[in-house]
Symmetry: C2
Subunit: 254 residues, 2 copies
């Protein structure tokens, strides 16, 4: 059956990938959301996850750069705007830096990406390369981990608020905002993928792209766990737990 | 001093990077060479390291594809020949598959790269992308981890022979052959890098490229350690320890 599954069945296939492989199942998130992470472990997560945030608009620009339809570009462009914000203010990257400061990190240090784990870089860069190189259908299918994001963001807000002093409206504004943005983005992306994956081969490629993306997310948490959860083996070049901390006097709620 | 360091001082700088960051310092290698790896752990290493081997000729082809000097291409091409061998026989990839069989793995399974850890893929693919995108000087400097390889290969041959039944002339032929090839390759590469890194900026870029490459190697062992050394958290998609094993009747010394 070269036409592939029905849209409903194919959507179920995509959702099953999330149910089986999305990183909400990784033990690092259980520790983080359950309040079992030390300040150092929370900071390591903030530093490394920033690298992912910092590359998302580049990934979306790579997508735009290969997109011949002005219509599609106009819709997709909002993702860059959501993450980068305006020249003077706003955007997910700046909101993430608020979280960085709340956990006691110098936001300039976080922005430098200096202490990012090499394995984090490799995983995130693989995502940017994927979107730069693969057919648009696969590039868009890879973004569909957003289908599974609202649940993890809601869990995270709840878990962080319950368990950590740094957590408040300001420091968690990134996640609150994503709760508003992600459903709009993913509704568009899911419809596009369901409409365009009209053969078995394309459905298989789109499913493989989504699996690839779950690997990108999982690999980042594996790297964090390996480096910073006891016993913890920080690789050469990884954040040492000391560099880039705000002085006590500069810290807020953290 | 925009001319950078002297060649001797710059070479020392490069060798220090190896002394500090080469993967012979990773605890996985200590376990492997000391005979403390289980058959499953040895097999996981063979499966994942095969992915690296399989991408090396593609990396070198990317280098050739960007190299305008026929003279340089003629010398560099031998790396592809060394790894791929002739149409019918020979080459490092086939020698690696002999090792795979000796440890009890179906070589077709290993060749499929199916069970390769996502983090291994991301690290190795980062190396191929690096060589595809960066200036030739940096691409060549990244290969200079070969400066440190003969020692680890000699240690490995000794450690594997002393500690594992599968180790013999045939199964370890990959490493014995690399002991012959690597010194020739690296003598050429080192001279070229020392000759061409004639400003401080280029020396810094070459040193950063070598650091990048040590990260690529280290990240692969972190992934193995995280997945397969106790307690071991095999990520989704990673080899399960069972798939791709040869039947008892098909096994040799392993």
């Amino acid at each position: 059956m070269t036409n592939g599954q029905t849209k409903e069945a194919f959507e179920s296939r995509l959702r099953r990938i999330g149910a089986e492989r999305y990183h909400d199942k990784h033990p690092f998130h259980h520790l983080l959301h359950g309040g079992e992470c030390t300040p150092m472990q929370v900071r390591a997560w903030v530093i490394n996850r920033f690298y992912y945030q910092s590359r998302i608009p580049m990934k979306d620009a790579a997508f735009l750069s290969r997109c011949e339809s002005a219509e599609l570009r106009r819709t997709w462009r909002s993702r860059i705007e959501d993450h980068d914000g305006a020249v003077a203010e706003g955007g997910g990257i700046r909101r993430w830096l608020k979280l960085a400061e709340a956990v006691g990190l110098d936001s300039d240090y976080v922005k430098s990406c200096e202490g990012v784990l090499p394995s984090t870089r490799f995983a995130v860069d693989a995502y940017v390369s994927f979107v730069r190189e693969k057919p648009l259908l696969e590039a868009m299918a890879a973004s569909l981990t957003e289908l599974f994001a609202p649940k993890i963001h809601a869990n995270r807000i709840e878990g962080l608020l319950a368990n950590y002093d740094f957590a408040n409206e300001t420091s968690l504004s990134y996640f609150k905002q994503r709760l508003k943005e992600a459903p709009k983005d993913v509704a568009f992306g899911l419809k596009w993928v369901l409409d365009h994956a009209d053969t078995q081969e394309k459905q298989d490629a789109a499913a493989a792209a989504l699996i690839f993306k779950t690997d990108v997310l999982w690999s980042q948490l594996d790297a964090l766990y390996s480096a910073y959860i006891e016993p913890g083996r920080i690789p050469p070049g990884g954040w040492d737990g000391v560099t880039g901390l705000l002085a006590e006097s500069e810290r807020g709620a953290a």
